[in-house]
């Protein structure tokens, strides 16, 4: 019998690095977004969820447009940009620029941000490390998912999509344990509509139900 590949929990943390670029208004945001590094675009979109922010927005551009420029419609348009829908960072950058251009066409003179409230373009250095926790079956996975740090949930649920196009959890459940149904349920969790802790809760509940069903099937 083929041995099951255990799920190895890892985490990632990000060290914020400044690019030195900032924008005081939407025109400057457009100008700098066009030239800033791909790493910076990546940070302000994909890594938004690592910051534990309020879920009114889905990326830093939308957050700044809503909170600092108070351009609500623009922030709604920007929040609708799904970074996972693009093949690469350059396509994502183009979409952000399109949204900003569309808005500037209709509202050519948006307000300035207050001093100190400018948009600061950052990048990150990412450090990953194993947590020393491996799960060989559903029950072990269930316990681990309850107690690992939020940085591990982030790594396997969000960061994995950039690496693999899918989260690590559902991939392992399907590939190694042949649990298609629960894998599908995890894939059904909308990454934009939950905090990392809520993601943890949904995954836990899905796995717990599966473990219960398994136990009932063997008469426990």
């Amino acid at each position: 019998m083929e041995e099951i590949r255990p799920f190895e929990f890892k985490q990632c943390v990000n060290l914020i690095k400044s690019t030195g670029l900032k924008a005081r208004n939407l025109r400057e945001l457009r100008e700098r977004t066009a030239v800033v590094s791909g790493e910076s675009i990546f940070h302000h979109t994909y890594q938004y969820f690592l910051k534990g922010r309020v879920l009114e927005y889905t990326n830093d551009f939308a957050h700044w447009a809503g909170e600092s420029l108070e351009e609500r419609a623009l922030s709604e348009h920007l929040s609708n940009v799904d970074p996972y829908a693009f093949k690469n960072i350059e396509d994502l950058r183009m979409e952000l620029l399109n949204v900003i251009d569309g808005y500037l066409k209709n509202f050519p003179e948006p307000r300035e941000a207050m001093p100190g409230d400018e948009f600061y373009f950052n990048e990150t250095v990412t450090l990953t490390s194993p947590l020393g926790i491996k799960a060989k079956n559903l029950a072990e996975f269930l316990i681990a998912i309850k107690y690992v740090d939020a940085a591990a949930i982030y790594y396997h649920f969000y960061e994995a999509r950039v690496r693999l196009g899918v989260d690590d959890f559902s991939k392992w459940l399907e590939d190694s344990l042949d649990k298609k149904e629960v894998a599908e349920r995890i894939r059904g969790i909308d990454p934009f509509m939950h905090s990392t802790e809520e993601i943890r809760k949904h995954i836990y509940e899905g796995i717990e139900e599966e473990v219960r069903t398994e136990m009932e099937a063997v008469g426990l």
Binding site: L15, G116, V125
Partner: protein
């Protein structure tokens, strides 16, 4: 020592610290600042250096020495960098350099990594022997006096990297610039757990009643902390909800305006028996801890702020915080999740009333705040970040697997 943090700091941070410790084992890490005691930098270094040593790193902490004139000059530089109009003459800069030169002869600067804290010892880069040199700026440099900043940048540009507390403090310097927020120490006297008895002792000593909700602001009596605005908001709230207000702060001895502000605050509070103005001596950490734990809501209505770590201190004690949207406060308060950011006296009064009428919200936001601090503002995260910067400089890769 590091075991003190297990069960408190995120497990992942402790694991990462161990890994970084293994990678940097036996290497030397020198910290240099300008004071052994007093101030946040010395406080953090006192705790951080023993932890680094425990991780297997040969960590040292040295303090530069100088005459009265040197510290007068560095105080002026400090103020100018923070935006106060100051003129630093060529002669003053020369003295700044000469004193650093003398220190370079006295201090062994040979290390694998050197972290220089703040502008006072920044010219030491001129005497670099080897290793990675990092300049750590703890102060608000968002609106500096240009000439002073430009002069300092001559030194700072020669470092391998610079570290700022908040993104808006960073400037395009042409070196790697990292954003590392400051942190609180959860096992220190100011933040450790306290028994109800200990808390009550402090309240009794200051004659603060515990029978009504308590609003608290801990800060120096400084116009930028808007204590008058806090009293105005309390008065607006008082029409609807019974509560008491405690304004606690150390006397600002180096601030000539401190005395005048305190007088204004006392006059404005008039004879309201429910306003308690406490003048705490320096090193009142235990009392501050007790007051923060006794409070129902903590306020930090700053108009201008460096980082405002009192916000994290209060959130660590499970208190919801209402803060002015200044300096590092918006990094700590996630509006609507761990507290509220306000922009006016009226906004503050409204949020206080919202909390006083919704104990469930007070509890929920307090709990969120504690988790936010656990994940972002504890000393273990700050050490992790310093070691990460050092390790990055050794490897120069955007993705590092440990």
């Amino acid at each position: 020592m590091i075991s003190q943090y297990s069960g408190i700091s995120p497990k992942g941070d402790l694991i990462l610290l161990e890994r970084l410790g293994e990678k940097l084992k036996g290497k030397s890490f020198l910290h240099i600042n300008s004071t052994r005691a007093g101030g946040g930098v010395a406080e953090i270094l006192q705790r951080m250096v023993p932890i680094l040593v425990e991780l297997g790193i040969d960590a040292r902490w040295e303090v530069i020495e100088g005459d009265e004139r040197f510290f007068d000059v560095t105080k002026k530089i400090h103020n100018a960098v923070q935006g106060n109009p100051e003129k630093i003459t060529e002669d003053m800069w020369r003295h700044h350099y000469e004193i650093n030169k003398k220190n370079a002869e006295r201090i062994n600067l040979d290390a694998d990594a050197v972290l220089i804290h703040d502008p006072q010892p920044s010219p030491l880069i001129e005497f670099r022997k080897r290793g990675r040199w990092i300049w750590r700026c703890h102060i608000d440099v968002s609106h500096p006096v240009k000439e002073v900043c430009d002069y300092l940048l001559r030194y700072c540009r020669r470092y391998d990297a610079a570290v700022f507390s908040v993104a808006k403090f960073a400037r395009a310097m042409g070196v790697d610039e990292f954003i590392i927020p400051p942190s609180i120490d959860p096992v220190s006297e100011k933040n450790r757990e306290m028994s109800p008895d200990e808390i009550n002792k402090t309240l009794d000593r200051f004659q603060i009643p515990a029978d009504r909700p308590m609003l608290l602001q801990v800060s120096r009596f400084d116009r930028f902390k808007d204590p008058i605005g806090v009293i105005k908001a309390y008065r607006m709230v008082k029409k609807y909800n019974d509560c008491i207000l405690v304004l606690a702060g150390s006397p600002a001895t180096d601030d000539p305006e401190g005395e005048a502000v305190l007088k204004e605050v006392r006059e404005f509070a008039a004879d309201d028996p429910d306003i308690h103005i406490l003048l705490l001596p320096p090193f009142s950490d235990r009392d501050i801890n007790a007051l923060q734990r006794a409070a129902t809501i903590v306020i930090q209505k700053s108009l201008k702020e460096g980082f405002g770590l009192t916000v994290s201190e209060a959130m660590w004690k499970g208190k919801p915080v209402i803060g002015g949207a200044a300096g590092g406060i918006p990094l700590q308060i996630i509006h609507g999740a761990t507290g509220f950011l306000v922009h006016s006296v009226e906004g503050l009064a409204f949020r206080i009333r919202q909390f006083l009428n919704n104990p469930e919200m007070v509890q929920r936001m307090g709990e969120n705040g504690r988790e936010h601090v656990r994940n972002n503002f504890l000393i273990t995260r700050q050490i992790r970040d310093y070691l990460s910067v050092w390790y990055y400089l050794e490897n120069k890769r955007a993705l590092i697997e440990l």
